[in-house]
């Protein structure tokens, strides 16, 4: 069970970092800095990248803690 606690904690760390970037590109650059390009283009590219980074990180993590699907 300790292992699974660690698994969940790592997942939450990934989530906080990725969502911080998500917030920064949309609300930071797109809205607060009022950058036209970030609001209409840049943020969308980063969103796509974020999801695939999460897919990669979680697939690796699932394997490490042996909770991946066979």
């Amino acid at each position: 069970m300790k292992d699974l606690k660690q698994y969940w904690k790592t997942n939450l760390t990934y989530l906080s970092i990725l969502l911080a970037i998500w917030f920064f590109v949309s609300y930071g650059l797109g809205i607060m800095a009022k950058s036209f390009w970030w609001a209409q283009q840049g943020s969308i590219y980063v969103f796509v990248a974020l999801i695939f980074v999460y897919v990669y990180l979680m697939n690796r993590l699932d394997k490490k803690y042996d909770v991946d699907e066979k």
Binding site: N11, G30, I31, F36, Q41, I51, V55, D68, E69
Partner: protein, 585 residues
């Protein structure tokens, strides 16, 4: 061949494909009907999700809207894509692991209270009502869109257009269920993305010399040595409009509208259920990524199309003599979608902002008597092929694309309505003893009733169809999102907390939107309240979401923790292994 024949051929051909797919992939069990048997590949599901998600509004109206809003249009772009990050990271994998058929299923099980066999499960009931309301308001808008598209291009009466739409959706949604819908949506995605990008590439070439619209947006305007965006800012300010890249909405409103669209997207039941159809948890994550790629292709092209259309429109209209107006202007004028009137009788078109101070000063100086050119925003996408002087078959393709966008979204929504009724309301609440076959029959009847109901409502639109779309997002954000999020990430959240939270979010958001849109909804002379600390009706769902979150957490802490059994379920959904196939357990 003339335009109308091309349109008929193109629309007929695509419809034949959809129907063919529906027959090939018809559902034979409730599992097929609800989650396409749970065996859809992540790539196909990503495409289907993209088609499901992008409605007629995304396809036809968004680029036009951005062209007129400039920077402010970014709320739709960020809002409708950023929600997928929330979905992929916070909801989709866990809901897939949970592995049932619907959103009320999750809420009903997670918040079943002490006695899971209680006659009425309040949390499930609240969730069913939200799902039905959100999906129905949304689908009515789609049916209306179908009617408009048919009536404009095939010159049939609006009502006939809606009836054709009902017949098509009826055929493949009722017959094929989720299985039929998924594979037709894959085809519909291909049609709509092709139809959107082909004209965009040609227009980009004409205006900036770059075939990639996303790069063209940053390129030069017609080789004049000035960048497109600088040119647009110049054109806009010269005519009394706000700078294209600045916008005029308050920052707080922009932030709240964006958040409401993001949270609403992540909470929309017809999007969430798509992630029940893939085989594994890791597939659910990946599939959300694919979906966003497919959506991003359209969503990054749309702002480019918007800028091209805006620059081209001003360039070819403003200060031009009426007799020299380009053919597409006269054509759309005849169709009644561009209104022109020579108010000061000088024979020249004056297009400017006659409401802004700068515009009024400009008019006084030059002797203009008001703006003389008012285009319907939706024609930006429809007129594109004509502006770029593309052949008639491209225009036909755009019509087929718009119909694909409307039909795919309508079908996905109808499925949520039918499963909410047959599965959540009948099987899980009132008639637990019906067999799989009977349940499937009820699902089909519910889908049939819903499609006819939506069609009739769309045919007879209670003037405020456009206004109620704000409801769909606001309600999804303020009711579902916190309940699902906390259900996964906070074990301490219990039934009283979630139920009071959902009701708080729901009541607050509904009341606020009703008061802010009272002119359109109830016909009052002025809105009962104008805004909520600078936040408009479109962004109010965000406030409702936060209220829901706070109330849920507070009430949960004041009442006993959920049972060990429920806490075990939460532990269980946090780990991918053992997802198996989506099923009712």
């Amino acid at each position: 061949m003339d335009q109308q024949i091309w349109t008929l051929v193109m629309v007929g051909l695509t419809f034949a494909i959809y129907i063919g797919i529906a027959i090939w992939s018809r559902a034979s069990s409730t599992k097929d009907f609800y989650v396409a048997g749970g065996g859809v590949s992540p790539l196909a599901n990503g495409m289907a999700t993209a088609a499901d998600w992008m409605s007629a509004a995304s396809f036809l109206s968004m680029a036009g809207l951005i062209a007129f809003l400039g920077y402010d249009g970014g709320v739709y772009l960020m809002g409708w894509t950023g929600g997928y990050v929330l979905l992929a990271l916070l909801l989709a994998p866990y809901l897939r692991k949970f592995g049932q058929y619907t959103v009320p299923d999750f809420i009903g099980t997670r918040y079943s209270g002490k006695n899971p066999n209680a006659q009425v499960n309040v949390a499930r009931l609240v969730a069913i009502i939200c799902a039905l309301f959100v999906s129905f308001t949304y689908v009515v808008g789609q049916m209306k869109g179908v009617g408009v598209a048919f009536s404009r291009f095939l010159e049939v009466p609006f009502e006939t257009g809606v009836l054709i739409g009902i017949a098509i959706v009826f055929f493949y949604a009722v017959l094929g269920g989720m299985k039929g819908i998924t594979y037709t949506q894959v085809a519909q995605y291909c049609v709509l993305i092709f139809a959107f990008t082909v004209p965009a590439i040609f227009i980009s070439l004409q205006i900036t010399g770059n075939p990639v619209p996303q790069l063209g947006l940053l390129g030069e305007f017609k080789g004049e040595g000035v960048s497109l965006l600088t040119k647009l800012n110049q054109l806009n300010t010269e005519l009394g409009f706000t700078e294209y890249t600045s916008g005029k909405k308050e920052m707080i409103d922009v932030a709240f509208i964006t958040a409401a669209l993001m949270l609403g997207t992540a909470g929309l039941p017809h999007v969430i259920v798509r992630f029940f159809t893939v085989p594994k948890v890791s597939d659910a994550r990946k599939s959300a990524g694919y979906a966003l790629v497919f959506i991003a292709i359209l969503y990054t092209t749309a702002p480019a199309v918007a800028a091209f259309a805006r620059a081209n429109m001003i360039d070819s209209v403003s200060g031009v003599a009426y007799d020299d107006a380009p053919a597409w202007v006269t054509n759309w004028n005849k169709a009644g979608l561009i209104k022109m009137e020579d108010k000061n009788g000088d024979g020249i078109i004056q297009y400017y902002d006659d409401k802004s101070e700068a515009g009024i000063a400009l008019a006084a100086e030059k002797g203009w008597k008001g703006n003389e050119f008012s285009p319907d925003r939706d024609i930006m996408v429809l007129a594109n092929p004509e502006i770029a002087q593309l052949p008639a078959w491209v225009v036909a393709l755009v019509v087929a694309g718009g119909l694909a966008a409307a039909l795919s979204t309508a079908a996905g929504l109808l499925l949520v309505i039918s499963t909410s009724i047959s599965h959540d309301l009948l099987k899980k609440t009132f008639m637990p003893n019906i067999s799989d076959k009977q349940e499937l029959m009820y699902a089909r009847i519910a889908a049939a009733v819903a499609v006819v109901g939506a069609g009739l409502a769309g045919m007879n639109p209670p003037g405020f169809v456009a206004e109620v779309v704000a409801f769909a997002f606001g309600l999804a954000a303020s009711s579902f999102f916190p309940a699902i999020l906390l259900g996964i990430f906070d074990k301490r959240t219990n039934t009283p907390g979630a139920v009071t939270g959902m009701i708080t979010g729901l009541v607050f958001t509904t009341a606020m939107i009703c008061m802010m849109r009272s002119v359109q909804l109830f016909g009052t002379d002025a809105p009962i309240i104008k805004d909520f600390f600078g936040i408009s009706a479109q962004g109010i769902g965000t406030v409702g979401m936060f209220l829901n979150l706070i109330v849920t957490i507070a009430v949960s802490r004041m009442t006993p923790a959920p049972s060990q059994e429920i806490q075990n379920i939460v532990e269980e959904i946090r780990i991918p292994r053992g997802a198996g196939e989506a099923q009712a357990h």
